[in-house]
Symmetry: D2
Subunit: 144 residues, 4 copies
């Protein structure tokens, strides 16, 4: 699957007091919350919300690795966007590249490796339905 | 100012993993985050975002009292709405009534007393511009 | 059961960046986190941690009501204490009074009503073992 | 400065409901909170709490990069420890290696690059007093 075939998924969000800290900026851990919202909405847009995926396929996602580069500081009341690209779909994992942006400015870049597991934490293959939906999204994008 | 004159402000939000806890439901403190988002968006809709109000009037808000009744449990992936009504505008405080709802079901009711303070924590009067905007919103609503 | 018979449970905690917001103070919802830590440690001290209680008795706690008065602002690096008193043990609920303090200064007072429920959210009686432990704690305290 | 010269700083912490999510485990972003508590206590142990460092030297810390490997899942009521090692002190940055452990089991490994900045976000050199304290800690450790 070709990563450039995917247009990034974009999700808008707003910075509230809950996201900031006493340094006047968004607390560094909260970019991971923003990224998880972006991944969740990308999957929901493909028809896979977490609850339904768990019920229908017995699979949940677990983050195995998360590398973050902080390039700028988001502040209270900022309107941000989270961009999410699927980098690679392997047997039991998804690799994603995500950015948290304020307009054209990239505030944080994230590389995230997500594994499919069952309720007991054992690795599971990426569900075929999800794999097909991701491939369909790629095809639709590269056709344009 | 007549509280029934105000239609409630409504803000939609989604429940993410970050909001839930090991009991499978939204953690009780997080309803206060949802309520603060609702108050913030109500004020932004009137032209008063926190950053601008602080810069232009020197006033910030501080919660003095917050009473919450928990009536139901929100869960992962739920689509919720936060309803916010101004109950009373006094000299230096606003009283608000807020509800976190899933469709028609009320999951939490909040009574919140917010004080206007300056950067040193001293009480300040509700800024005249905000008072006027709240009165204007009330008049517009009661005219319909 | 006589509330004054109980000496309050005390738990120390420290304020980190994660607890603060862009106003430079502890975010208002986070006092509920502090209070929940205090309740949890009080119960753990009596031999009832959440995990074990759920496994052994099938009971979990759910907060039904939480009233907070904010009297002062905690700041980064503050050393705080959470004081927890059992106010009343009823059939299926516990009433607690809690304070978040910085030295002798009370920063927040909380009135919390906690219900015992089962995994399906149905009310359950306060487990007899917990009831006995709370009575034992009261007797030990009033004997001193 | 030789990284192996430093014994790791250790900080104990407990997992509360606030740290967990609906998957029954600690939410992935919260390991960054745990790590920040560990860094803060390591610095406090050397005499450098954030508030005092800001007042006395005008310097605050900002995380520039944070790489996390998740190896296991922490759960409600777990007793964890955060181990923090200074890897390298450069002109304006500190590199740290941190682990979140449950007993001998490593649940998460973090590589963190922290920059010294002033209130306007401009890079600043690591304060000489802090540099000396870190060197002193290294010398004391390697002498044992």
């Amino acid at each position: 699957m070709n990563p450039v075939a995917f247009a990034p998924h974009r999700m808008a969000l707003r910075v509230y007091y809950e996201d900031t800290d006493a340094a006047g900026i968004v607390y560094y851990a909260n970019y991971l919350k923003f990224a998880e919202r972006g991944r969740t909405e990308m999957l929901r847009g493909l028809g896979f919300d977490h609850s339904r995926m768990r019920t229908q396929t017995g699979v949940v996602f677990a983050v195995r690795r998360c590398n973050v580069e902080y390039r700028g500081a988001a502040r209270l009341d900022d309107a941000l966007s989270v961009e999410t690209r699927i980098d690679r779909v392997a047997g039991a994992t998804l690799s994603l590249r995500q950015s948290v942006c304020r307009g054209a400015e990239v505030l944080a870049d994230l590389d995230v490796l997500v594994a499919c597991i069952d309720d007991n934490g054992r690795p599971r293959r990426v569900p075929a339905e999800l794999r097909a939906a991701l491939a369909g999204a790629a095809a639709a994008t590269s056709a344009t």
